[in-house]
Point group: D3
Chain length 148, copies 6
């Protein structure tokens, strides 16, 4: 009976999500497409514009009985701020972040979420995993990358 | 090494969500229930009323390295608008959409989400799947249909 | 000096706003317009549809030093619920509320806000005034009636 | 052919989410940590403060063809109100709810979501399961407990 | 008595607000300031970034008894779209709109709201006035221009 | 003609609003009321609970042609943070802020907004005035103090 209780405690898992916002400029333009293809694919997004992006980083792990936490929110906040927000906020994503423009990757919501996921994955303490990164480009368009 | 990189690129998958809104009237009334059962089951919802519905359609697929997209948002937007929003917006769902009233299906949030899911499933290009349709009836009531 | 302090306390005024929501059906149709005029004026709104309306009732008065309140929120809540929400929620506004359909008034956001304002004005205790009634029909369309 | 159709109807499953809000006070303090550890772990959260919590309870089941419902929203609303909201709303969570303070569990978002999950799990009719409980502590911090 | 009633009808005034959104890039840089002054005044805003702007245009007038409207929302929508949204959406405000960069006006929220106000003022039919233009740059920063 | 233009520039006024949030605990209890009166007036609010408060500080002034600003947002942000948020955030308002509990003032939304208004009024540079302080206690209850 005791063993069972103990096991239940150890098994209590939660997903914790931290939301941070940043304001950035970008345009969609792919070096592997012709000018006409770029225009027909990306339309007005080929012009430099910008967004208030909302980034939601979800991590999963067991709840530490001593602290009641999967991970301290100040830790996630610092990681997301340092590795993602500080790099993108008040920047032109394509011009200022080499993973995008210099590497020829269009700064779609999918790719920004993927970059954030790759930037955060592996940065967390043992036992805590980034399970999803969600990026709201507007309140109508959202991309999510999930750990497979 | 090259092979690995290639594989990683191919495996990058994302979920893309498009949100559209529509305003519609409906009432809840089931032909398979008696009047008394309808009233006790649906209460004030048996009277014609309406909502600003929020529809969130989520599709999944790999990110095309050339465009950075799972699918062009203009494609999803057009599909959702044509197949769902144009049919329901500024309409009385039970009276105007045969799948509901004429077929005896109550226009609950669950059923509207299901109808939207069935209307969109199969409409997307190869390699892109509708994985979830979410319908917010109010900011307190939400139904989600997920692809099994 | 004392007198001045006393006066300042008495003069401390605030505006208190209570927000309530209701879901209703309506259509826009004016008996003083021809069918063609109705269609050209109201377009798809001539069809029965509905909204999650958000009603914000603002009252102004001095802050009672004993309670720290302009008026008890439970009082405003009860008034707004009884006189407005209970009449409109889960109803077809034009068919069920005589001030609209039977009297030939189109149930525009302006008119619903006006009706709510007239229904609440004068219902408050002495010294507290309804200064504004705001009605959000959607998150893009809002009407406000202010006390003149 | 008929059989297949019938089966499809029976298999239509949905997730229904009900959102309720409550306002509560709490502080983070763990009896298994020293004062210094509490301060370094929880920082300003060691002081009594409070939140407008948003609780989202998601249940899954098949859609009943007669009612179009997974479960009547009034049933979920009553359960969430009775078992969770009534216990926490306008209370000091650590002082008033024995599962937290008296039992030495810090009232983190993870633990409050876990407590709500445990309080609701098993309360639903046969065939309907609580699949997730989400607790938004602020609009930047969210915890989710999912049924395993 | 009749006269009074008539007068009351004529006097029923309302404020109608239409909300439109656009996504644009900008940077803050003033030609009348030195480089050092620009940096100390505008900080990270001197770098090209962007926002999802929310524009709320409020007009006031009497409610037409025949239509129940101050003005047809389709009219305001068209005006706001043509004169403001089409000019700014998916554009770099400083580079693409002469009133800003070419004229040396920094594209602060205050100035964008002012430009929108000047662009819309006078465009409305007789008896309807633009009384306020509100611009939300983020959900923390808002500028409002009111008709004096 | 020149004079007119110059005058127009000088007269361009705007209202700038900065929004900050804080999480605090409080209870409503008035020393000038009996226990029974407190309970009948404040109900469940007599128990310690808490909120995520949203504070919106609106200031008005002319737009400086050189900077395009009424006032630098970093200045308002710092003032609101130092004088209001730092004092209330993660605190028990009645116990920790002498203007409330020690002085016998109930910490209603009206009084918190009034305290914030008094704390900020006069702190701004010449030519810029605090014209309104708005406090959202929940998304249904809001108090506003306006400069008279």
């Amino acid at each position: 009976k005791k063993k069972k209780k103990k096991k239940k405690k150890i098994m209590a898992r939660a997903v914790l999500t931290r939301v941070e916002k940043f304001s950035a400029a970008h345009r969609l333009w792919s070096p592997t497409l012709s000018d006409a293809e770029n225009l027909s694919t990306f339309g007005p997004c080929t012009r430099t514009h910008g967004h208030n992006y909302v980034l939601s980083v979800s991590v999963a792990g067991r709840i530490d009985p001593a602290t009641g936490m999967v991970i301290n929110l100040t830790t996630i906040k610092a990681l997301v701020t340092d590795r993602v927000v500080a790099v993108l906020d008040h920047h032109h994503i394509d011009e200022d972040v080499p993973w995008f423009g210099a590497a020829g990757r269009p700064s779609t919501a999918e790719n920004i979420a993927l970059w954030a996921f790759l930037s955060l994955r592996g940065a967390l303490p043992a036992g805590v995993d980034v399970v999803a990164v969600r990026l709201d480009e507007t309140d109508k368009n959202t991309a999510v990358i999930r750990a497979e």
